[in-house]
Subunit: 400 residues, 2 copies
């Protein structure tokens, strides 16, 4: 089988190391002996021993303290050494940069939350001011949790707009000065680790899939139902960004109705609402709930528009589940009409659920991006034998 | 490395066999010697020899006749045996079952076309009649090309509607008696090989990707712009069917505009057109081109609606390329306004191209389905070491 590794001993070591690390991470609450690791991985005892030594040197594994209750100690007379993954070997940060707030969540290498915080930002704040606010928020969080900045292994960021692979915002109308901002580059000055920038709805759907309403559901669309609604999608458990990172930017569909923007639909006067004034929207919704007819009509108009946008997404993608988040999610009366209308117009209506994570969704999804990045580094070995196990859906090697 | 194959010698043989077959298929115009196969695969000469013998027995490989011009013969005194993939070892069929026609294309194991034919069917024909017409069309094609039915290795079928994995039509309003039809099961009675049924727009996009307007483009949406428009999408080169096989069924979006169905939009009288009467549509388009104002307004209404549907798809999916097919594709004046409107409303407008395959797209895509099925059988070995080379985008093994 040397063909599979090309006879490369260092690659073989890397594979073995990955296999051992995965076994230790499979249950981070239990430390394993060398014998147990050998059984779990199928590797010989000397191989396991060598690999574990290497992982200890790299700071990723530590010997666990003796457990006096462990039967293995008394039976054999001397304790069997046990090893654990050092989840504290590094930390991960998830940041939300939104129109009204910046938020940050901090976790260890297994994704376990260590702390979180958020601050208000004025919707009219410049990009510089917003970034400064984010830096201060992160510094505060690190200080309060007593985590050194050097310990950060990856930082994820979620923000409105179309985001390029390098973290530049190609188009971001919701935040002043956002379009064209080299957000990734700017943030990388504050961190010595990789910084991954993602659209906020994309981060949101990752979060709901990880710990929210979409747990265990791999085909899901999450709508951030704000005045400029956006959506993030998982297809087969993977984020669908689109060819240019613009997938799910259904806000533009409003333009097709010319004047039918949410700001106008929700207005109870001749003037449209301010595009970012969520408080004004909440007032209209509250008046509608209180029986105000004019506000009721405005809310109906807005809901019809939202249903239309969401139906477009559902018809294009056919998800198993639709998660509704964003500010509209906290307001009564959105979910039932949405469900009823989707049942009426979609050939196969999806389940509809409210976001479980609410306003922590974007930062949590950003954290998940950072976690995935570090896990990919820790747990992946290049697939040397990919050529021998082709994806059957890919083009075959040769067709005339 | 025995861990990777679990020490299973038959699996190792299968891997080696696959590798050799792939090398022979990489260029079906050139036969290879055992030495050349050894070089291409990294396998030892005795291994290659054993594998090739097995493939000859299986009917997949044949010894190529001596080439008198081959320098290897004269130099060594005796000819080096050369081997080739037997693309004639089996055949593949692609069938379109549409509202107005059934079509069939026949190819060898490399996908090279051997013959094709089509017949008209009345749009009101029953499911039985339509299936009978399909059977007659296939029988005629096999007879004319002198290919035995036993030679068929897989049959692909493209048809309107939402199609379940087993080939049952869950919903198909375009054809009488189609909803609920166990189409796969019915067709399997006529063939002794696998029969794969797929939505027509899905088949269409596979075809355009294979030999049409989307060659080399892996993120593409194809719209079949008929009176009930549907769409098929490739994401990262893979067909996106959706969770319930209903992805791209944007025809239902018309319902949201209540009365704004294409049949009404395109009508120049008070009565809507018949939903399947494409000839009537062509007449309206022709009158519009001739300067008839009423028809011109009808065409404008229809185009605005089509743009809206297509924009919804583009905003949801963000493809690199949009391919327009279906009957509207053959009519002037659709592409330019579509392009202009998409530029106006989409954050990142895709390239827009006409279908290159026209009315052969669906049958060609169905053929491609059959080809992929057979190639997956021939060229894939189960990925025993998948656990060691995880997809970094998948969930990691353990998170608290």
């Amino acid at each position: 089988m040397s063909r599979l590794t090309g006879g490369d001993p260092s690659l073989l070591r890397r594979i073995n190391s990955t296999v051992v690390l995965r076994s230790l991470c499979a249950d981070t609450t239990t430390a394993l002996t060398l014998t147990e690791l050998g059984r779990a991985t199928g590797l010989s005892r000397p191989t396991v021993e060598g690999v574990v030594e290497g992982l200890i040197e790299a700071g990723l594994v530590a010997e666990a303290p003796d457990d006096p209750a462990d039967a293995r100690i008394s039976r054999r007379g001397r304790p069997a050494r046990r090893f654990r993954f050092r989840s504290e070997a590094g930390h991960l940060l998830g940041i939300e940069l939104g129109p009204h707030r910046v938020a940050a969540v901090l976790a260890d290498l297994t994704g376990r939350l260590v702390g979180s915080t958020s601050r208000q930002v004025d919707e009219g704040a410049s990009a510089d001011l917003r970034l400064e606010r984010a830096r201060a928020t992160v510094a505060d969080l690190l200080r309060r949790t007593d985590i050194a900045r050097d310990s950060l292994r990856a930082v994820g960021v979620g923000t409105p707009g179309i985001v390029e692979a390098d973290g530049t915002v190609r188009l971001g109308t919701a935040l002043p000065g956002w379009t064209g901002l080299a957000l990734g580059e700017r943030l990388r000055r504050s961190f010595r680790c990789p910084v991954l920038v993602e659209n906020d709805a994309n981060a949101g759907v990752l979060a709901e899939h990880w710990k929210g309403a979409a747990r265990g559901v791999d085909d899901v669309v999450m709508v951030l139902a704000g005045l400029s609604p956006g959506a993030g999608s998982l297809i087969g458990g993977r984020l669908h960004r689109g060819f240019g990172g613009a997938a799910g930017e259904i806000g533009a569909l409003h333009l097709l109705g010319r004047e039918a923007t949410p700001e106008r639909l929700l207005s109870t006067t001749d003037e449209p609402l301010h595009p970012l004034d969520e408080a004004a929207v909440a007032r209209v919704f509250a008046r509608a709930r209180g029986g105000d007819e004019q506000a009721g009509r405005a809310m109906d108009r807005f809901l019809a528009r939202l249903v239309h946008d969401v139906a477009a997404l559902v018809l294009a993608l056919d998800p198993e589940l639709l998660v509704v988040g964003g500010w509209a999610a906290g307001l009564d009366g959105v979910l039932d009409p949405l469900r009823a209308e989707l049942e009426r117009y979609c050939l196969r209506p999806p389940r509809v659920a409210l976001s479980l994570l609410g306003d922590t969704a974007v930062a949590t999804g950003a954290l998940r991006l950072a976690l995935d990045h570090v896990h990919a580094e820790l747990f992946t070995v290049e697939s040397v034998d990919a050529a021998h196990t082709p994806d059957p859906t890919q083009r075959p090697p040769a067709l005339p």
